[in-house]
């Protein structure tokens, strides 16, 4: 009598498992975005009617806000000396959703293609790659508040200051366009170590009471994973970097963003 184990069923609290995968009911390609180009991975996009205005300042690698329209400025841009500045990802995101007119300092328009070009190749001239921008955009669509890691929302926000920041306030004196001292740009770019796993963004939950002057700690930090999955040591190193703030690693493949957590646990000993 031949014994076959191939179609054994295991009962457990979770139900019956059938070893034979052919008989399993299958999941339709429910996330198949091939079929819904219009909505893609994102919720229905609400394009803005009113456009704010910024100057892209090349030496700074940021945009200076000239005219603000809409409440999004509560959670976008950093405040320095009474002005607001946007990173490349903030600028590009707002331009994509039609909320921003971006100009060169000579008032000629900067098109979306020009902004995309700023993320070109792998240069990360302004501290953000195409993939990091995809992550930024993904979280922004869902309502999260996202800031560049290690960059204070405003100088009044004491908690996020690093050692370098104490001198930043004084060194940042912006008089007029022709005579500027952008000392604070070191904030944006001094965290750039090329390659490896590093925190890129600080993420705060959607919150209408968010204030740049007292943002509090982020709910989590988002780190870029390098080409290979991280080793245990790499994870530990990056955790040290993030302190007590939880971290998530992101992987972007073919436009699809995945977030992974590697959380240390201690299983209880059971009786």
């Amino acid at each position: 009598m031949m014994e076959t184990n191939t179609s054994q069923s295991f009962s457990s609290d979770d139900g019956v498992y059938d070893c034979d995968s052919d008989s399993e009911s299958f999941v339709e390609d429910s996330l198949d975005d091939e079929l819904c180009f219009a909505s893609g991975d994102f919720p229905k996009l609400q394009f803005r009617k009113e456009r704010s205005k910024v100057w892209w300042i090349e030496e700074l690698g940021m945009a200076e806000v000239l005219e603000k329209k809409g409440k999004m400025w509560i959670t976008t841009g950093i405040s320095r000396n009474g002005k607001t500045y946007c990173s490349i990802e903030e600028t590009l995101y707002l331009a994509e959703i039609g909320a921003l007119d971006v100009l060169n300092v000579d008032d000629t328009p900067l098109l979306l293609s020009d902004l995309y070009a700023k993320l070109a190749e792998d240069r990360e001239k302004y501290g953000c790659s195409w993939e990091s921008f995809e992550v930024y955009r993904c979280l922004k669509y869902l309502g999260y508040i996202v800031g560049r890691h290690g960059v204070a929302w405003s100088m009044k926000n004491m908690k996020n200051k690093t050692n370098a920041d104490d001198s930043v306030g004084e060194s940042c004196s912006i008089t007029d366009k022709g005579n500027v001292d952008y000392g604070f740009i070191t904030d944006m770019f001094n965290n750039m170590h090329l390659g490896g796993t590093r925190p890129i963004f600080d993420v705060f939950p959607p919150n209408s009471k968010f204030r740049k002057s007292s943002s509090g700690d982020p709910s989590f930090m988002v780190c870029r994973a390098s080409g290979h999955p991280p080793s245990r040591q790499e994870i530990e190193d990056i955790e040290t970097c993030c302190g007590r703030i939880p971290l998530k690693l992101y992987v972007v493949e073919h436009g699809r963003v995945s977030f992974l957590s590697f959380t240390k646990v201690e299983l209880p000993a059971l009786p």
Partner: protein, 236 residues
């Protein structure tokens, strides 16, 4: 598994080769140029090209508020390189807006993505046969292959591209222990796809891979399935 059509069969639709050919012509005529950015290539397309890119299942559209009729698309390295170097219908430029040579592109992509030569060989092998090939990361595989546009047919194959063992393919190590097989087969079964492994062999080509040396690589297609003797007993 037999192909599963949704609605009418593909015979009523234009063959994929024709769609791709129309796309190729249109892109050449408009001197299309893509922008290399990180691990993607961005392409601004005319309305007819957007339609053809959709029908050929190449790239993903970017959702923007641009009022202009042109639409931005994001292409993966494989898709972009296929259009640029195989179909020869787009150029790809970097930051300086100058078109890069095939070798420059190849080198850039190889550095950015582990195991890219094998992946690209697999992608172009299937596309040349007019299969629709899309990213498979959400199913834990390299690609998913469809007989036609996914709107009309369920995907048949979950594809893994593996370098031959003699080539010391440690870079792209998958299916190395039995639990890998069980895991992948289980996942494929749950989403009604058959596991297709493409064994890519260097055929003695040099270690340093160039785009032209890829021509001499060979691809062997093998399907991995689990056979259940109980189910098959009464059938043929």
């Amino acid at each position: 598994m037999a192909p599963r059509w949704k609605g009418e069969t593909a015979e009523a639709k234009e063959p994929m080769s024709v769609i791709v050919s129309k796309l190729q012509t249109s892109l050449i005529e408009s001197n299309a140029q893509g922008l290399l950015s990180g691990c993607a290539v961005l392409l601004e397309a005319l309305p007819e090209q957007t339609e053809l890119l959709y029908r050929a299942c190449i790239g993903r559209p970017l959702i923007t508020a641009e009022k202009d009729k042109k639409q931005w698309h994001q292409l993966s390295f494989e898709e972009a390189l296929y259009l640029c170097c195989v179909l020869k219908c787009i150029k790809i430029a970097g930051e300086n807006k100058c078109a890069k040579s095939n070798d420059e592109l190849w080198h850039y992509m190889m550095v950015k993505r582990v195991g890219f030569p094998v992946m690209f060989k697999a992608y172009s092998h299937l596309r040349r046969k007019n299969w629709v090939v899309r990213a498979g990361s959400q199913y834990g595989v390299d690609y998913v292959a469809y007989r036609y546009h996914p709107a009309f047919v369920h995907s048949e194959y979950a594809v893994l591209a593996l370098p031959d063992d003699e080539d010391g393919g440690s870079e792209n190590s998958r299916l190395k222990v039995w639990s890998d097989f069980h895991c992948t087969l289980r996942l494929c079964g749950s989403v009604a796809k058959t596991l297709l492994v493409l064994h890519i062999s260097r055929n003695g080509e040099d270690d340093v891979v160039s785009l032209s040396s890829l021509e001499h690589y060979s691809v062997e297609e093998r399907v991995v399935t689990r056979w259940n003797p109980e189910v098959s007993r009464d059938a043929k």
